[in-house]
């Protein structure tokens, strides 16, 4: 064996077997100027608040929600405030500053204006929320009022998202919504009058009776209203359990629904919107930081409320889904953490890829700065495969999802970066399976399904 020494001229650096004279006690070296502000800087953090109440429950919504009930809402809000207080008292949380947040549900504005005022006052007063933090809230044209809008703005909410779904009266009726498009438009004007600059509209494609022409009409109205963000989601038709729903016109064929996606993506791009998450579009500068930054930059998120999902201290987790058990756990002084997963370093890198791709692009330098690795090399095979399929483009700066084809397949692209262990496992919607988790790891052979000629009983 030969030892090569390249630093013979440095008196403090000797290669073994020669004994070094410097007594090592610090690392890293290569020092640069540092000041007090940098040493004590608080790291960014986000918060997600789940309000599980709606004044009107929609049959196509899979999220945990309850009909608004005065007593339950009051008890729930007390528990939620206690949960906020519990988090706020923890040193780890105090070392961070909240720079972004999202209040979803349910319908957060199913709460009354005084309840919203009280909750937001407690949230912003208990946690270290940065001045001008990027906070979004969800609402509906029916639930929003001038009084509530004013409270939200005064408390620091900057972006508001309205579930409009469609501007066609018949389609509104078919999904069980109040069917006056003028009322929907008026809610946008109201928000603008109150001072909201960043307004998002949620639309749906694939709903009963919808045609390509009516879909274009809804998009045109949304664009003409001058909102800053437009998102569109595919309607999920669940079991038609009511006799009324059986009489509805059918949902469009899947091929038509797919065409609607591509049509909307192209139309919104041509109208000056930039795409993110595949089906969300924002005018330049109006994309919410929640999601984009928190996912791709690995910013921790505090989850508040039942089924809220968070990402703290190397764990991804979600809260107790049952509202009764949630209230009880919080009242007992514990955090209502239910199920989740420890995120190892290799998985943290994959997580940044999986979620970073959702924003449409992953920057090589930024990724290297955060994780210390070159994802272009690490995931060379996956990137080459996706490039060959025309779903992404790659250059020295990183990767970019090609629109609109890649946006349509954004979730497929994202899943290409899952580690083998997590492939073909779904994300959660609030099911607690802790009672049924295998106690001992048992080797599992994952095999392909038997071919049809092999599936019979072999005798």
């Amino acid at each position: 064996m030969s030892i090569t020494t390249t630093t013979t001229s440095m008196p403090f650096w000797k290669e073994y077997p020669e004994r070094d004279s410097e007594w090592v006690r610090q690392y890293p070296t290569k020092h640069v100027p540092v000041n007090e502000e940098e040493v004590f800087a608080r790291k960014p953090m986000g918060v997600y608040v789940h309000i599980p109440f709606c004044n009107r429950l929609c049959f196509s919504c899979p999220y945990i929600k309850h009909q608004t009930d005065r007593d339950l809402t009051r008890t729930y809000l007390d528990a939620l405030k206690t949960e906020i207080t519990n988090y706020a008292g923890r040193p780890y949380i105090q070392d961070h500053v909240i720079t972004l947040g999202y209040i979803g549900g349910g319908t957060p504005t199913a709460l009354t204006a005084p309840q919203l005022d009280d909750l937001l006052g407690h949230l912003f007063g208990s946690l270290n929320v940065e001045e001008g933090a990027d906070f979004s809230i969800e609402t509906t044209p029916v639930d929003i009022t001038e009084r509530k809008a004013t409270v939200l703005l005064e408390r620091g909410i900057r972006r508001i998202s309205l579930g409009v779904q469609t501007f066609v009266p018949e389609e509104l009726k078919n999904i069980g919504r109040p069917n006056d498009p003028e009322m929907l438009k008026e809610s946008i004007r109201l928000l603008r009058r109150c001072g909201f600059e960043n307004i998002n509209i949620d639309l749906m494609h694939g709903i009963n009776g919808q045609t390509m022409e009516s879909w274009e009409h809804s998009l045109d109205v949304a664009i003409d209203l001058g909102v800053t963000c437009i998102s569109f989601y595919t309607y999920m038709e669940f079991a038609q359990v009511s006799t009324k729903r059986r009489k509805l016109p059918p949902v469009p064929e899947k091929a038509v629904v797919d065409d609607m996606f591509l049509f909307a993506a192209e139309k919104l791009s041509k109208s000056g919107f930039l795409g993110y998450y595949g089906d969300c579009f924002a005018k330049p500068g109006y994309q919410p930081k929640y999601g984009e930054t928190s996912w791709s930059e690995d910013i921790p998120i505090i989850p508040l409320g039942p089924t809220a999902t968070g990402h703290l201290r190397d764990h991804w987790y979600f809260n107790e889904p049952d509202i009764g058990r949630y209230i009880q756990t919080v009242t007992e002084g514990r955090l209502p953490i239910s199920m989740g997963k420890h995120i190892t370093k290799p998985e943290a890198i994959r997580r940044s890829m999986v979620l970073g791709v959702k924003a449409g692009r992953v920057n090589r330098d930024r990724f290297r700065r955060i994780h210390g690795v070159d994802f272009m090399e690490m995931f060379r095979a996956e990137i080459d495969d996706l490039t060959e399929k025309g779903l992404i483009t790659a250059d020295e700066d990183g990767i970019e999802v090609t629109g609109p084809k890649g946006w349509y397949y954004l979730d497929n692209i994202s899943k290409a970066f899952y580690s083998p262990e997590y492939r073909r496992y779904p994300q959660h919607l609030g099911a607690d399976i802790s009672n049924f988790i295998s106690r001992q790891p048992i080797p599992l052979q994952i095999t392909s399904r038997p071919r049809s000629e092999e599936t019979g009983c072999d005798h």
């Binding site: 899979p62 919607l429 049924f436 599992l444 599936t455």
Partner: protein
């Protein structure tokens, strides 16, 4: 092929001890099925309807739970008689309630439910055109004898179709379904723990001497049939 670890405790079969022993729990289960799991009935219903031929007169459901599938199928086939048997009094009571409501709502169909031992079906030999069962096999006390009974009452040119869950279905599929059954998750998982694998179903068929029958895995389910079946769309 990948080696991995299983997430869920489903390696060994755990028979359900006295399921449906409380009428309120049965009503809760029934309500859950009516509200959110109707989609689960779509494929079994389509499969039964796909096997109906001209000249058929009688269908039998073995282990009808709360009668929803029989009522649904009978509504689609008003000219055929559908008879169901179940051996749990609470299930029979709730099914009777459902039947009363169906009659009150003027639903088409000729349905009859009765209580009987599943291993001693109260029907003559070669009397049913289609013998079907859905989500019941995992509760059968004497599965081998019940399979023989299904074969006995089925006409020579008829068909037996038995569907249940597959305990060794892909875990991703199971956890996906769990997201939607919500508060019925415990019930779903206990049923799944009591369900058979394809290999175990094949063993039951061997013991019953039904060596020319089929046992096929299908997504979350297991389909046992007296002859090969055409695939139905999901």
């Amino acid at each position: 092929m990948t080696t991995d670890t299983r997430l869920l405790n489903l390696t060994d079969r755990v028979p359900q001890p006295s399921p449906h022993d409380d009428i309120d729990k049965v009503r809760f289960y029934d309500l859950g099925m009516r509200r959110s799991a109707l989609m689960a009935y779509k494929r079994p219903s389509d499969r039964i309807l796909a096997n109906v031929r001209d000249g058929m007169t009688d269908l039998v459901e073995v282990g009808f739970n709360t009668g929803l599938l029989s009522l649904h199928v009978a509504g689609k086939l008003p000219d055929l008689a559908v008879s169901g048997v179940e051996e749990n009094q609470n299930l029979v009571d709730v099914a009777e309630d459902n039947l009363t409501l169906a009659v009150w709502a003027n639903t088409a169909g000729d349905v009859e439910f009765e209580m009987a031992k599943l291993h001693r079906l109260p029907f003559p030999d070669d009397s049913a055109d289609i013998v079907f069962s859905f989500s019941s096999l995992h509760r059968w006390r004497r599965p081998v004898e019940t399979l023989r009974e299904c074969a006995r009452i089925c006409k020579p040119d008829g068909v037996v179709i038995i569907e249940d869950m597959n305990r060794h279905a892909e875990e991703g599929h199971i956890t996906f379904i769990l997201q939607f059954v919500k508060e019925g998750g415990d019930e779903f998982m206990r049923s799944l723990q009591a369900a058979y694998t394809r290999e175990e179903a094949a063993e039951l068929l061997r013991e019953a001497g039904l060596t020319d029958w089929q046992a096929v895995e299908e997504d979350l389910g297991l389909v046992i049939s007296s002859r090969p079946l055409e695939p139905v769309s999901t």
